[in-house]
Amino acid sequence: MNEIRHVVIIGNGISGVTAARHIRKRSDYRITIISAETDYFFSRTALMYVYMGHMKFEHIQPYENCFWKKNRIDLLRDRVESVDYSSKTLKLKDKGDFSYDALILAVGSTPNKFGWPGQDLKGVQGLYSFQDLEKLEENTHAPLTPLDKRMVKRAVIVGGGLIGVELAEMLLTRNIEITFLVREDRFWGNVLPKQEGDLIARHMRKHHVDLRFSTELKEIVADENGRCKSVITSTGEEIECEVVGLTAGVSPNISFLKDSVLETQRGVMVDKLLRTNQEDVFAIGDCAQFHEAPFGRRPIEQVWYTGKMMGEVVAKTITGEETEYAPGHWFNSAKFFDIEYQTYGTVLANLQSGEREFYWEHKSGEICVHVIYEESTRKFLGINTFGIRMRHEVFDQWLREGRSIEHVIKHLKDANFDPELYSSKEGQIVAQFNAENGTQIIPKKRSWKRILNLASA
């Protein structure tokens, strides 16, 4: 690597900002973050709360505006049009040429569009960027209170994943009815096992979401003003709607980087050190695609947490301590209306050969625990929880130590993270496990020594 004096980061999302913060901690380099989207970093996952009125946009900016100057991180609002890798120069829309010593591509994603007829009509949109939020306000200029006159009556959401369910929750707060087209036979069917998919479907229907499984979008029909007026589904049904939400996943936002010397496929190709094929150019976060994915992981992982990890790792490498991206055990979380979801380790949509499962569901039908383990060794592989909070450190430790399913079940109280005074579920969970497996596990009392790994343990 050549001597670095100026690191330029394209994208002010969680990946780019994490990289900038960690480079600042570890060096005195000049740091510039360029974004065309917003002046300041904001939490993308929280856009929904602004729309619903839980927060104002300023609240979803994790750092006060003075933070950046104080930490000598320059913020530049501009659009990068192209990169000249040989002269290490960016071409900016407004400010022209801008040079770098090291470049980090943290350009994020863009909502998928699969060439549906009418996908670019007015009223049709994805939900990813700040601009998408503004567009949604415009498209759904609708009641803020139930007493106002209703303007948008129905929206159709296409694609049963996390953004789709968030969009549904958002629109319902404006009293817009939702029809939800899901290609799979259950909700988030490429990620969630059937039991959890059903649980979420029940909960969404309780919120009056009209769910249509095994149904795809065929066409969006325009009215005389070029605004969508209905969609036609794969079953031939026409559904009237004023808004269509396209939430069938996201893809790396790299169109301006394509067709150049930079190696790309779906994303920007990187090695374990997050280096691209161009000197001193790195890619992190949603837009990075690994030549060789880390063990047990996918080549592109578009979640908040991996973006954060990559930002941290690339900062080490750039500041002289070459560090491979080693994300450890998978974890993730989400919220489906009122039900929180957490996952630790690997739980796939369908049980793999050699795997066994244990599924417990609370009588309310809104809380469940789904544990996957290896049949032969009884090694714990992963857990999905809905409506019950678990301790990340504890599960991460169990995964690292390769603990058995019995160990996990026995010490489940250590992992519980529900607020105080919540009724304990472990008794029921362990009883069902014992009944199904002919075991006689007695749950251990919660131990702070074990949880905190205290020296005295």
């Binding site: 913060r21 996952t45 619903m52 609240h59 790792v313 450190e393």
Partner: protein, 536 residues
């Protein structure tokens, strides 16, 4: 249900209008007989006050509280002026002119309100309660299935500093200004609750009965709202029940009931230094020297000392200061119920935090100095040799001056007018965060020697900001959560709302070993070897 909610809102508005208007709906005519019997009971030595009153006030019609009140004040001041000039100190009436006016207003009131107290009580307070309940209960259905529903908090005029918020803001400030400084002008409000006070005691209500009653009613209705809003969250339900219970039973019912048994009406949960008049001479003398109190008076004194100096620190060590601030305290109770719709307005800036530390610790120092001086004076008063004056000036500072200044600045303006009046604009814990000396005292213990912390769950934080936004104490919870660090802050009152609004299950209030309480986790689990150790 929309209709129920809107209608409820209208009823609350009508109730508040009738309540406010009742101030103007009284006229006065003081009969000679009533004045004479009043003067007899009071045992005035001042013939000149009686003569002036009979000459100018008695028998005359006054159409407003303002004219009657000022007429009484003039008589009193003129009479006292005469006596002071003549150095007839035993004839000077030391009651404040406002107290005098208030007492005389109560016995001389006429007009629609005085004749129909029950009716006015119904159309103000009772209507307000019914409307409030309708508005609150409609939420069970209107706001959808149980869960966090902060929908439109930042769209509505009431909760987003719109005109409704400013009206409530102005009304609350006016209410407190009248209550503390012009009780003589709110006799109409006080008369509204006479029928309730009359159920168990003679003599009519005082402004403090009105305040206590309103406080409890508001906490009950808004407490129910809190329970409905957080009905999926057992911590919030139990906590709300607790804080309402302590207000209604300890701060109101016991205070009203104990005097019926010739015992002092004390709020046993009120701990020094929040209970700042604990060592005032009149309080201590009253407790020790009132015969009917017997040993109970001494018990109250000993209990107060044990509570402040032993129980408070022990409980804060075990549970954090939340055991008091959001489970027991009356100020906290109002903040957690009436104030809940405004919790998002507390400023999260570093600048506010700086102001907070200076201000709250200054008040604590002020409270300690004031209590020391007042305590010395009280001691001197109890042990003074017959015929000598007790010492009230120490190091050139008058205990009376300091205590009066504290009562005015902290007791009235800060805890009342600012503390509650500012809810709709600046958030619901202004007093608790910036002013309460007890909170400052417990904060030290919570920060340095306690088992309480808010645990951050590994790396699950998505920096959304719900926790910070809804922290009533202005703690930037997210700052800690997003770097995987436990939250150990002296100001945290443990309301648990950050944990409740977190969409990813990241935060948990808990009591655990001190070891590892203040810790530096890896920023991101997975990148196991990287730990943060910087201020950035």
């Amino acid at each position: 249900m929309n209709i129920v909610r809107s209608f409820g809102g209208i009823l609350v508005a009508i109730g508040m209008l009738v309540f406010t208007a009742s101030m103007f709906l009284v006229s006065f005519n003081l009969s000679e007989a009533k004045f004479n019997s009043f003067a007899d009971i009071k045992g005035f030595q001042s013939d000149s006050f009686s003569n002036l009153m009979k000459e100018r006030v008695v028998g005359n019609d006054y159409s407003t509280v303002f004219s009657f009140s000022s007429a009484v004040s003039e008589c009193l001041e003129e009479a006292n002026g005469v006596h002071k000039q003549a150095e007839e100190w035993d004839k000077v009436i030391w009651d404040s002119s406002k107290e005098m006016a208030f007492s005389l207003e109560k016995i001389s009131a006429k007009g629609p309100l005085a004749d129909n107290k029950d009716l006015f009580l119904f159309f103000s307070l009772i209507l307000g309660i019914i409307g409030g309940l309708m508005h609150v209960i409609a939420g069970i259905q209107l706001d959808g299935p149980a869960g966090i529903k902060n929908h439109h908090v930042y769209h509505q005029k009431s909760t987003n500093r719109g005109w409704i918020a400013y009206v409530v803001f102005a009304w609350l400030i006016a209410f407190y200004v009248f209550l503390y400084f012009y009780p003589n002008l709110i006799v109409g409000w006080v008369m509204l609750v006479d029928p309730i006070h009359g159920l168990y005691a003679a003599g009519g209500a005082s402004q403090w009965f009105l305040y206590g009653l309103l406080y409890c009613v508001v906490m009950l209705v808004m407490g129910l709202r809190m329970i409905i809003k957080y009905r999926h969250n057992k911590y919030q339900i139990v906590r709300t029940i607790s804080v309402v219970f302590f207000q209604v039973v300890f701060a109101f019912l016991l205070v009203e009931i104990l005097p019926l048994f010739n015992l002092p009406g004390v709020d046993l949960k009120n701990a020094w230094p929040l209970d700042y008049d604990f060592l005032y001479d009149w309080n201590v003398k009253n407790l020790l020297q009132t015969e009917s109190y017997g040993k109970f008076g001494v018990f109250v004194l000993v209990w107060g000392i044990v509570l402040a100096l032993v129980l408070v620190p022990i409980f804060v060590y075990i549970f954090g200061k939340r055991w008091y601030c959001s489970w027991v305290c009356g100020c906290g109770g109002l903040a957690e119920t009436l104030g809940d719709p405004y919790r998002q307005h507390s400023s999260k800036s570093l600048f506010s935090w700086k102001i907070e530390r200076w201000l709250i610790h200054s008040v604590l120092i002020f409270a300690i100095i004031m209590t020391t001086l007042v305590g010395l004076h009280t001691y001197s008063e109890l042990n003074v040799a017959p015929g000598e004056d007790p010492q009230s000036v120490f190091l050139g500072i008058s205990a009376f001056d300091v205590r009066q200044m504290y009562g005015f600045l902290i007791g009235s303006i800060f805890s009342g007018i600012v503390g509650t009046g500012f809810y709709p604009i600046f958030g619901n814990r202004m007093w608790c965060r910036f002013g309460c000396p007890l909170a400052a005292y417990m904060g030290f213990i919570q920060r340095f020697k306690s088992r309480f912390r808010i645990t951050t769950n590994g790396s699950q934080c998505i920096s959304c900001g719900n926790c910070s936004t809804y922290c009533e104490q202005g703690i930037d919870v997210r700052w800690y959560a997003q770097r995987g660090q436990n939250i150990v802050r002296s100001s945290c009152v443990g309301c648990g709302v950050c944990s409740a609004v977190c969409p990813r299950g990241v935060l948990k209030l808990e009591n655990g070993p001190e070891e590892g309480r203040i810790q530096n986790n890896p920023i991101v689990i997975g990148n196991g070897e990287i730990t943060f150790n910087s201020d950035l």
